[in-house]
Assembly symmetry: C2
Homo-oligomer: 167 residues x 2
Amino acid sequence: MFRVNRQTDYAVRVVLALSKMPRGTRVPTSEIGREMLIPPSLLQRIVAELASGGFIKTQPGRDGGISLAHLPSEITLLQVVEQFEGSLVISDCILKEGDCPFESKCPVSCQWKRLNDLLRNEMERTTFEQLLEDGKQIEASMEFPASTPLKVVVSEPILSLTDSVNA
Amino acid sequence: MFRVNRQTDYAVRVVLALSKMPRGTRVPTSEIGREMLIPPSLLQRIVAELASGGFIKTQPGRDGGISLAHLPSEITLLQVVEQFEGSLVISDCILKEGDCPFESKCPVSCQWKRLNDLLRNEMERTTFEQLLEDGKQIEASMEFPASTPLKVVVSEPILSLTDSVNA
DNA sequence: TAGTTTGTCACGTCATTATATGACAAATAT
DNA sequence: ATATTTGTCATATAATGACGTGACAAACTA
């Protein structure tokens, strides 16, 4: 129906959450899941996919977790989206295998391609550093910077970064 | 998976096919189906949907068929797409019913919305008259204007416009 | 130091639901 | 008669999510 998968949206939020943290911070995925309200079973797959795409580093074992493999400024929205949606194509030709009788002569295909390129370019220009700044601006534009944490749990130690900061 | 439905693509092609014909031309849907290689069962629904959207006029019975209800210059790509894809939304908030704790404060949603608007605007600017011209340009850019009709059936009377032109 | 515990990721399977695509048939209008 | 109209059904694919088992590494304990 012309929309990005929920999984992809989740993935973007995972990367964004990691981008918010100080460089090299490592957190258990369950932490991210709680913060971003992602069902654990999905999160497993998302983390695996992000790792195989080289976006994050994973560390098994006790006090393990995930951390960002690159600077937020080095990761584009397009990269993450394509990792999860496959190579972004709004509409390949209706007929499979290039045996479409209209082929490139078809103004409809051309339109789809044009729109496709538009999206791709825009997403390629968008880094997670920008998303971070957008987030800051949004927060700043509200009277009370963080008046109500909006149900975010405070009653427990959210992060337990013992030595992971200077690792 | 982030692509337009086949049905939508078909629909666009139907409108385009009608746009190519002289104003007011009426053809049976089966004719369009053969020309555009659309499975009849799907075409039924597409035609119904196009009619209910006011894009085409239908005429049941003998010598009946469908015809364009507006000038090609008055129909935009967005109108047709939204009729079939619903109101174009790349990603509504993950949580249903607006109870997302992040809401408009979320830079991710903002991005989706931005990309969404980009697509919408572009499609709104694209009329079927433009598609027609694109098609002509494509044809003109080939050495032999219509050298090989590319498997298009010629062995039968493609159109049977008896009196439908001056209707 | 050696062994155990614990909290984490890794991977595979299954169930449920939603959607897309298409065939078919009965009804209706001209 | 010949089209459109409308509704039902079947099938395939994909998305979403739950579970369970195993691998792994750090921390703890004796």
